[in-house]
Symmetry: C2
Subunit: 740 residues, 2 copies
């Protein structure tokens, strides 16, 4: 009996144990919510490998072919067609995004008059026209014969018919005009200047105060063609060099964004400032011409010889003028500019597309490029758009097939009217300011994706350095199975970092060269601009020679810039890799300590350059050093916290908190009142500056000004800018410090 009871007890206990075990492990417990796993998932490296594999150079080539069929200047027929094309691609049921739409702005643009083309003539004293500049570029392929090609012109330069003696003013910088003014009377002259050295419109803004009444701009073969000039065998279609009739078009206004609605999105109903209130426009007519015409004019000049470094590649002496040599074709003649540009309000579209984030849809990674070109724009900007479309095709397909969805939302932007001054992206930033400010982790810009096929080139906020490095170590150079983009890049651009040793050089985002401007300077969003570029030992060209001309075509790209489109593919893989890491990483891959390194370098430069003089003015730089120390220590504490945590086990709100600290760090550098005269520039580290000292822009420019004037008021401005920087760096430190 006892045995039976014992046996019964044992069996009972065994059965109970089985029950306990099955009950505990075998049956899913409803108390652990479904989302627990999802919220702590990190980036999936195998997915990134898949992405890299699927990025296809042939697809990019086909994208580019489609994008460059016709000229597509902002708001033109070709642009409107591309709006639809982008929408179709991003709404494609198999490879499209979750959603796509267009945002329309009514923007202030400048065009030549179709019926009365601009021209530059040489007129004799008896009013005979001895010479007329070309109205269009010479055609070598079918592309140059397209009727929609806009005549070369200087957008936003005023109309007018100035007539005067020609002078050669080098690059049209202030010092160039000052130099001329020492010996010549510039009043009533027309200046001819080379591209480079000064902003496009500044060549007129600088000259007008000296009496110059019109400016011609051309690209000297020395600056763009490594000296090559002949279209019989040297220039396109024989090479990538610019044919003699090629003309660089461009926007000639200083500020960016729609010029009549600063800080307001340019809707139909929006208040527009009077045209007369727009600042930074060329005050006198301007016209760009080809070097063929420039040669004719410059080589006929009279007057003194220029300094040696003013000379370009022409086989003549580049006399300064004023006026033409009596032995030239144009004795006693004037130059007459006939400029019929006019400004109009036109509707320009941004095309937007999104992939909704699964875990944090309210965190955005933005990726964008402009859509509008000057002519066919194969390189500028379609090389970037072709890359963007390949990235969206690969990611869109994964989304549509249910294989992947990012943690954070990804927003793609195909911006309108960039060539006229980054208009589409800036209006977007203005319209959605609060939302973008509150939610955006990063902005990736890929405008011209391939300038040339030698090496990667990245400009970016230091916060993004490490994610760019991670991505570039994983992607191989074009055609190679072994050499990483990183290892190739470091050979071309590098620097010595106190923390990391020799590393690739991430360029600064100081200017407003492309659509990143509104994101970094106005919104304070960590941004980067990615491209493949030149081997500088092989060319001195200021930029790829067909830039903004009728030769920037598919044929040009396919033959001379990136045959096989493997550099495009490499950029797509690199930018896409960065995008995926930003979108999917549990921890946002920003490093505050990398920012600290740059800030410390700026601070050290400021100290070395200014401290002796500022001490003499009773302006103390120690508080700047203290702010730096605070930022460094905050960065290192945060990184220690991250190192010491297993974020996959932490509450998702702690991970979010750390991510917010990293995201908002950059925002702390925004000060809307720091630069009252620099429209949209609010980032106290990266704002544009005139000074050549590589340090904080407000401080550097204020110091230069104060040294020049030595006025008490200007020294006060130096102190003010020092205080602004200190407050911004301390603000960024607060963003990183323990939240309570």
């Amino acid at each position: 009996m006892w045995k039976k009871i014992l046996l019964c007890g044992l069996v009972g206990a065994a059965v109970l144990t089985v029950g306990l075990l099955i009950g505990h492990y075998g049956i899913t417990k409803s108390s652990s919510p479904d989302w627990v796993g999802a919220v702590s998932r990190d980036v999936d490296e195998s997915m990134i490998e898949q992405f890299i594999k699927q990025v296809d150079n042939k697809q990019i080539e086909e994208n580019l072919r489609e994008l460059t069929k016709v000229p597509h200047m902002a708001t033109s027929q070709g642009d409107v067609q591309l709006v639809q094309y982008m929408l179709d691609r991003w709404k494609d049921p198999k490879t499209g995004l979750d959603d796509a739409w267009k945002d329309t702005y009514k923007v202030y643009l400048s065009f030549p008059d179709d019926n009365t083309p601009n021209n530059v003539t040489v007129v004799s004293s008896t009013n005979s026209v001895l010479f007329t500049s070309r109205l269009k570029e010479k055609d070598y392929t079918e592309d140059q014969r397209h009727p929609d090609i806009v005549q070369p012109y200087a957008a936003y330069a005023p109309a007018g018919n100035p007539r005067g003696k020609l002078v050669y003013a080098n690059q049209g910088t202030v010092s160039d005009y000052e130099f001329l003014n020492e010996t010549l009377n510039l009043t009533g002259t027309i200046a001819i200047v080379r591209y480079g050295g000064a902003g496009r419109g500044n060549k007129a803004i600088n000259g007008a105060p000296f009496g110059v009444i019109g400016v011609l701009v051309y690209t000297d073969p020395k600056d763009i063609n490594d000296g090559k000039m002949s279209d019989e065998n040297e220039t396109y279609p024989y090479s990538w060099y610019l044919p003699p009739s090629g003309v660089e078009r461009g926007g000639f206004a200083q500020d960016f964004g729609d010029l009549r609605t600063p800080y307001l999105a340019a809707k139909d109903h929006t208040y527009r400032i009077p045209e007369s209130d727009i600042k930074g426009l060329p005050p006198i007519p301007m016209q760009p011409i080809g070097f063929e015409d420039a040669y004719t004019l410059i080589c006929a000049l009279t007057g003194p010889d220029p300094p040696p470094d003013w000379k370009g590649s022409f086989n003549c002496s580049y006399k300064l003028g004023p006026g033409f040599d009596l032995n030239s074709k144009f004795p006693d003649s004037d130059v007459q500019m006939n400029i019929y540009n006019k400004c109009v309000l036109k509707n320009s579209d941004n095309v937007m597309g999104v992939i909704r984030g699964s875990v944090e849809p309210d965190r955005y990674i933005l990726y964008g490029n402009h859509r509008d070109s000057w002519v066919h724009g194969a390189i500028d900007p379609s090389s970037g758009t072709a890359v963007m479309l390949e990235i969206t095709r690969v990611l869109g397909k994964m989304v549509k097939e249910g294989k992947w969805r990012p943690r954070r939302s990804i927003i793609f932007g195909s911006w309108g009217a960039e060539e006229f001054g980054l208009i589409g992206s800036t209006e977007y930033a203005e319209e959605y300011y609060s939302k973008l400010r509150d939610r955006t982790v990063a902005y990736i810009n890929v405008d011209i994706s391939v300038f040339a096929n030698a090496t990667l080139r990245v400009q970016g906020s230091p916060a993004a350095q490490s994610v760019v490095f991670t991505a570039t170590k994983q992607v191989k150079t074009p055609g190679s199975q072994t050499l990483s983009v990183y290892d190739n890049w470091i050979q071309y651009f590098n620097r010595s970092s106190p923390t990391h040793g020799t590393i690739p050089l991430l360029g600064y985002m100081t200017g407003a060269g492309s659509d990143y401007a509104a994101f970094i300077h106005f919104l304070g969003i960590t941004s980067m601009d990615i491209a493949y570029t030149y081997d500088r030992s092989k060319t001195k060209a200021r930029i790829y020679p067909a830039y903004h001309t009728a030769y920037d075509t598919f044929d040009y790209a396919a033959r001379y810039i990136d045959p096989g489109f493997t550099s495009h593919q490499t950029v797509a893989r690199t930018a896409g890799n960065v995008l995926l890491r930003l979108a999917d990483s549990l921890l946002i891959p920003f490093k505050a300590s990398d920012y600290a390194e740059t800030l410390e370098q700026f601070s050290k430069t400021a100290l070395d350059t200014y401290n002796v003089i500022l001490t003499g003015k009773n302006i103390d730089m120690v508080p700047l050093m203290n702010a730096m120390a605070k930022f460094k220590s905050a960065a290192s504490n945060l990184e220690k916290l991250i190192r010491d945590s297993d974020l996959t086990l932490e509450t998702p709100l702690k991970v979010r908190r750390i991510n917010d600290q990293l995201m908002f760090m950059e925002r702390a550098f925004i000060d809307p009142l720091a630069f009252p005269d620099k429209q949209h520039f609010r980032h106290v580290i990266w704002a544009s500056k005139s000074s050549r000292v590589p340090t904080f822009p407000g401080l550097a420019d204020a110091f230069d000004q104060a040294q020049k004037s030595d006025s008490a008021q200007d020294w006060q401005q130096v102190h003010r800018h020092l205080s602004i920087i200190i407050q911004a760096i301390e603000g960024a430190a607060h963003a990183l410090e323990e939240v309570i």
Copy 2:
């Protein structure tokens, strides 16, 4: 045998079932992380009940007694002692907070000269001094005999010794001076004006252009004492009314924040603008005097009679002047002001204390009051500080005992130098701008907690209306077991809401009356200001009569403002309840639809008032209506989403997302460039304005200006402000819309 097997099987099955059940339900499964429950916990109503119970009127009384022992004007000995007292309280191991510290700013303050007191004299034509104003207020209790009582003066009014004929200028508004100027020559006169109707400093700013060279300010018994004048039985210590020698001190600068470091925190090293660059200061000497002295001066005046509504309570005719009646005590005499105010930089402290949030430490609820008074400041501001200290005592105790910790962090601020222009709170907002902007859910201000004991009075952002209503329904009125604060409040201040029917009236946060200014106007943080106040049927006093005088003492508070301190207790319970709901609710208790109601009312008023004229100027108001519709629809969609969700079951990141939408809604109304002439005012809904039309301030003021001038430029400004408002409302709608 079969029976046995069957039995065995049944028993076995039963045991197994028990095992399964225990295994599944009885043993905690490790796969569900600890934090899952915590992140979805909502506000604990029983904890709030506990809080209400523990708030003790006796403790508040003792706090007030301690706080009012000595005068504690900003940076004085008494203020420095209170800094230490606050630190001691907040660091108390049993009832203190997690941490407390002080933040010091070097700020620009204005004081009279201790050695050479200000005075106002009447001087005869032979330079005999016929009358001298009182140098200090008459003492009735020991408090008025304290040596640290600052002489009455007008802070930031310049020093000087103007001498001239006296004129009576009513309240010193622009129209008051215009009226006088029609018949009198104001050049070289000294104006005597009543408090009220215009900002303190404006009484001089308005008069100076008419030639006025000095301004005396006094409080007419009609405006403050319901006409009572005699200190033999009518005024304090016999009642709450102001004794004849009582003088209202005050800050007389227009702008708020440290005047020499606008937008920069006033650290030692910070750049300071030159004193001559400070805007909005009184341009001529000013001095406040008691109505006893004012009576002597005004009743001796000659000249025409004033309009009836200029007359106060004096039993004389309030002649306008200029100068004294030949039959008065002062025939042929001038008034001479001898003002020795001087400005100095002094260190002022904010005392800060925190309770760290358990789940979202990076979300802040701020609660603050200033610490500095003019004299003993029992009501202003110590009634608020006594309440704050009781709230921190009760919450600190719960924290120290491990009974409670808020979901979000709570930051308490005891601001310095408010009386000089909200300086401590504004410097704090400047120094920590980015961090506060990114993380702060709400700011609660309780300055004077009890003006009188009749009813609650709340000014606040409409977003906070519902949480204030919830709290006030739960707290009972002083001494009552049944009547809620809400039900009492609605009897005194109410309005008809299209959505809610008759509800208590939440006042607008339009001015800069206390430390909420920097938080709502500069930072765009949802703010509220809470107090108990008057039954307006019982008194017409502009404010409690001892305001800013030497009679604002503990004795005054205990005898006449809140005997038993039960109104203080009610405010502590109400403000604490709001604080706890903001800190602990899973969903931030803001209602976007309540904001929509206010915005719609503003829009409707704008449409009704301006549309006919604006249409004539080709300015279309339909886009404003469209923006409103967009905001309303976004608000209602978000509220539907909230209604349809069980947030306790959602991923914490979804809850956080919705909370961020609610938190950042208010931020979208900030535009740093909307009001370039209004320092620190950036909130396009609540900025200060001159117009009386209850609508958007920028639009209203621009419209008034344009109607006055009818200049094209001014009408453009109307259009500009309309666009600014539309963009802000749309921005707020974007903050609320589906995030992607």
